[in-house]
C-alpha cells in the first residue's frame, strides 16, 4: 500500500540531529513492548525503553542503541526525540560490559536501599549496548 510512499525518519537528540532520511521500516523498544513501524501507521506517540533501534533502509539495515526518549509516529514518518542514542561505533564495549556486571551485582545483592528501577534501567542499557555491537 505504501510502496511508492516515502517514509521519513528523523532522530533528534538535544545536541545533534542523529539521523534523517527515508526508510522502509523502523523497529525499537517501547514501554508497551517492541514495535516495528511501517509506512502508513496510525498516529501514535510512544515512550522509548532501552533497546536496539533497527533502521531498515532501501539498501540494508542500520543498528543503534536507543536508551531514552519518545517517538511520534505519523503515517508519513517518525520523529524520535531521543535523550540518549548511540551508533555501534560510539559504544565502548568494555565499559558496557562493566556496567552490565555492576547492574547485575546490584540486583543480585539487593537491600531495601537499592534503587531497583535505576539498576534495571542500567542493566537494560548495558544489554542494549552489548547487543548492538554483536
Amino acid at each position: 500500500m505504501a510502496d511508492n510512499q516515502n517514509f521519513h525518519l528523523r532522530i533528534i537528540t538535544p545536541d545533534r540531529l542523529f539521523y534523517e532520511g527515508d526508510v522502509d521500516m523502523v523497529e525499537f523498544n517501547t514501554t508497551e513492548g517492541e514495535i516495528g513501524v511501517l509506512p502508513g501507521h496510525i498516529p501514535l506517540t510512544v515512550i522509548v525503553k532501552p533497546g536496539i533501534l533497527v533502521i531498515t533502509e532501501k539498501d540494508g539495515e542500520k543498528d543503534a542503541a536507543l536508551h531514552a526518549g519518545f517517538a511520534e509516529i505519523l503515517p508519513e514518518g517518525i520523529t524520535i526525540l531521543a535523550e540518549i542514542v548511540e551508533w555501534p561505533e560510539e559504544i565502548d564495549a568494555h565499559r558496557a560490559e562493566e556496567a552490565l556486571h555492576r547492574a547485575q551485582d546490584r540486583l543480585a545483592s539487593k537491600t531495601p536501599e537499592t534503587d531497583i528501577a535505576r539498576a534495571e534501567t542500567a542493566l537494560m542499557r548495558a544489554m542494549a549496548r552489548i547487543e548492538v555491537l554483536k
Binding site: 545533534r16 498516529p43 515512550i47 526518549g69
Partner: protein, 286 residues
C-alpha cells in the same frame, strides 16, 4: 600639569589593559560561535518537545495531574543560571535581580540552585538559602547534567518540599540582544503552552494512556527546558562578555588618545620652557 614621565607610565599601563581586553574579546567571540551553534542545534529538539507536550495537554483536557497543580508548600526552588567569571557587563546582575527584586517572593521561601559561581556568591551574600551549587555544569553544558538536576527537583516536588519550581536565565536572541527571563517549570504553565502552541493534532493516539504519558513526558520536557536554558545562557554570557570587552577596548583607545595629546602638550611645554630659559640666559649675558 602631570609630568611627562607620569603620563607615559599611565599610558603604557592602559595599553597593557587594552591588550588584555582585546584578547578576552577574541576569546569570547570564538566561544560565542560555538555556544551559538549549540543553542541552535538544541532548539530543534526543544521545539518538537514543546509541540508534543502541547498536543498531549490539549487532548487530556483539565485533569488534576500532579505536575499541573501547584504543591501545597509555600517553598519555591529557583534555578539561577549565571557565569562562573565576571567581566561580562550586566549579564550576572540582571539575572540575579529577577529573583532579588521579585515583587511577591519572600526571601525565606526560596531555595536557590545556583548554576555558576557568580550567582552563588551574590545570593549567599544577601542571605538567601543556596541549596546547591553546580559551577562546572555551565562550563560545558551536557544533557546528562540537566537530567540529573531535573530528576532531583522533580523528586523534591513530588515529596512536597517545594510547591513551585522556577528557572531564571538569560535567553539568547542574537549576538547583541540577550534578555533575562524567569520561567515557571512546575507546575507546568498550561496557559503559556496552549496560547503559543500550534493547533493540536486531534487524531494522535498515546501508548501508554494520556495520563501515564504525561508522567513520563513532563520530566523530559522539564529537562529539555533546563538544558535549553543552559546552552542559551552560555551563549548569552559570551555575547555579553564580548560586548563588555569591546566597549572596554574602545574606552581604552579613547583614554590612550587623550593621554597622547596630553603627553605631546607636556613635551611641547617643556621645550618652550627650556627655550625661554636659554633665551633669557643669553639676554642676561649680552
Amino acid at each position: 600639569m602631570a609630568s611627562m614621565r607620569d603620563i607615559k607610565r599611565r599610558k603604557s599601563s592602559i595599553q597593557g589593559t587594552q591588550q588584555i581586553t582585546k584578547a578576552m574579546k577574541l576569546v569570547s567571540t570564538v566561544k560565542l560561535q560555538r555556544a551559538k551553534a549549540n543553542a541552535e542545534r538544541s532548539k530543534v529538539y526543544f521545539e518538537s518537545m514543546f509541540d508534543t507536550v502541547n498536543s498531549i495537554l490539549s487532548r487530556v483536557g483539565h485533569v488534576e495531574h500532579r505536575y499541573l497543580v501547584p504543591g501545597e508548600s509555600p517553598k519555591k526552588a529557583v534555578i539561577v543560571i549565571t557565569s562562573n567569571r565576571g567581566l561580562a557587563g550586566g549579564y550576572n546582575s540582571n539575572v540575579i535581580k529577577l529573583v532579588t527584586r521579585h515583587e511577591t517572593w519572600q526571601k525565606e521561601d526560596l531555595s536557590i540552585y545556583a548554576l555558576g559561581n557568580k550567582g552563588r556568591e551574590a545570593f549567599a551574600r544577601n542571605g538567601y538559602t543556596v541549596r546547591e551549587t553546580l559551577p562546572e555544569v555551565i562550563e560545558d553544558p551536557a544533557y546528562a547534567d540537566a537530567m540529573l538536576l531535573s530528576k532531583r527537583l522533580l523528586e523534591r516536588f513530588a515529596e512536597g518540599e517545594f510547591g513551585e519550581i522556577y528557572l531564571a536565565y538569560t535567553s539568547f536572541k542574537n549576538t547583541v540582544s540577550h534578555e533575562p527571563k524567569l520561567l515557571r517549570l512546575l507546575p507546568v504553565n498550561r496557559e503559556e503552552l496552549e496560547s503559543s502552541g500550534k493547533e493540536a493534532d486531534a487524531i494522535m493516539n498515546f501508548e501508554p494512556e494520556d495520563i501515564e504519558a504525561l508522567d513520563m513526558i513532563i520530566p523530559k520536557y522539564i529537562t529539555s527546558l533546563i538544558y535549553g536554558a543552559m546552552v542559551e545562557a552560555v551563549a548569552s554570557e559570551n555575547g555579553a562578555r564580548m560586548q563588555a570587552m569591546d566597549s572596554a577596548t574602545s574606552n581604552a583607545e579613547e583614554i590612550i588618545n587623550d593621554l597622547a595629546l596630553k603627553y605631546n602638550r607636556a613635551r611641547q611645554g617643556s621645550i618652550t620652557q627650556e627655550l625661554t630659559e636659554i633665551i633669557a640666559g643669553a639676554e642676561a649675558l649680552g
